[in-house]
């Protein structure tokens, strides 16, 4: 599924950095501990998290994450927004919590 379609199919989305809207995503991951995500996330997966520290961009870069979804309406720090913009990583906030976002994504066919 394309990033554009994923974001279009979720309600309550605020896009902070639009990037790679035609990139196809098939995998997803959820986690807030950066070390854990770095060690466990598959590559090229979208990432659902409530962590809004600038280092989210660094981990996303290492794991080739094309899209970061900040759940529970978390707002990114300015530094995170800038860094995602610089690295071409799509960044959006969703009002739903992580559990619900993952449920919706699973229903759309995104798998771990």
């Amino acid at each position: 599924m394309k990033i554009r379609d994923i974001l279009g199919n979720l309600e309550g989305v605020t896009t902070h950095v639009a990037a790679g809207e035609d990139v196809e995503i098939t995998r997803g991951f959820v986690g807030d501990l950066l070390s854990f995500v770095m060690g466990s996330a598959p590559e090229k997966a979208l990432w659902v998290t409530i962590q809004n520290h600038v280092n989210v961009a660094a981990v996303a870069l290492l794991k080739e994450v094309p899209l970061v979804l900040l759940a529970s309406g978390r707002v990114p720090s300015l530094e995170l927004k800038d860094q995602c913009h610089k690295e071409g990583i799509a960044l959006a906030s969703v009002n739903m919590d992580s559990f619900e976002v993952c449920g919706r994504l699973f229903a759309m066919g995104v798998r771990n």
């Binding site: 501990l33 950066l34 070390s35 854990f36 770095m38 060690g39 962590q51 520290h53 280092n55 660094a58 870069l61 290492l62 690295e87």
Partner: protein
């Protein structure tokens, strides 16, 4: 005994996030300008630049403690101060074995320079140092103690990489020697955090990543026999008349 000024959280050019002005003689002369007597060098997950700082400090009046800012598996930062260079090296070995194998990308994350006392680059550290190691914060604290070191929970007031932010509270029986509050807090904000520290000593430090971060308003005064690791350990325990003074002015907000 006398009052000494200390800053126990300073990065060098080894930390990828530090600026390149954080060289060995540069840090020492900046500390002299600010009348800082005792500092700890605490790069992320490494003590490789401690020797350079130690040598650069010779005859300067600035005393250097070797340390590391270790990142736990839960992304908690713990300052681990070691009694001497030999212990620091052994402890660092323990940390290194638990560091995940991801390599640094200097263009993206910054350079990781190992330097000598004249800022000559001896080596570039290849593995990314800003990663959580395969040990919990509690394990790191226990291991630090077993090496005769002192552990300090770093910047507990910050929203990221702090024990309180990640785990909610500091258990009463956690054998940590002190907690650190950010230099950027106001006096009343600091008093709010004092409660979370329990009965432990509270220090204020710079967490300097660039020279201008180092300054008196981001230091802590302590009553010590002389500026040294041993005297610091007594002060953090509050024994033999040694103690750490509350870093903020009690009369101003």
């Amino acid at each position: 005994m006398d009052l000494y000024r200390m800053d126990l959280h300073i990065h060098t050019v080894l930390s990828p996030c530090a600026e390149l002005d954080m060289g060995a003689p540069d840090i020492i002369s900046r500390c002299r300008e600010e009348d800082i007597d005792l500092i700890a060098i605490t790069d992320h997950n490494s003590a490789l630049n401690c020797e350079a700082l130690n040598r650069a400090s010779t005859g300067s009046g600035v005393e250097v403690i070797c340390g590391l800012e270790v990142q736990s598996s839960e992304d908690i930062h713990v300052l681990c101060l070691m009694p001497d260079l030999e212990k620091a090296r052994a402890f660092e070995e323990w940390v290194r074995k638990r560091l995940p194998p991801y390599r640094n990308i200097p263009d993206k994350f910054g350079d990781q320079f190992v330097i000598d006392e004249d800022n000559h680059v001896i080596d570039e550290y290849e593995i990314l140092l800003v990663q959580g190691i395969d040990a919990t914060a509690d394990e790191i604290i226990e291991k630090t103690r077993s090496f005769g070191g002192l552990s300090i929970l770093a910047h507990i007031d910050r929203p990221a990489y702090s024990y309180v932010a990640v785990l909610g509270m500091i258990p009463e029986n956690l054998e940590v020697d002190a907690v650190e509050l950010s230099g950027r807090l106001t006096g009343s904000e600091a008093l709010f955090w004092l409660e979370k520290a329990g009965k432990r000593s509270v220090i204020r430090s710079s967490d300097a990543h660039t020279l201008k971060d180092i300054g008196q308003e981001r230091t802590t005064m302590a009553l010590l026999g002389k500026p040294s690791f041993h005297e610091l350990s007594l002060a953090l325990k509050g024994v033999d008349g040694r103690k750490v003074l509350w870093p903020w002015d009690r009369n101003s907000p």
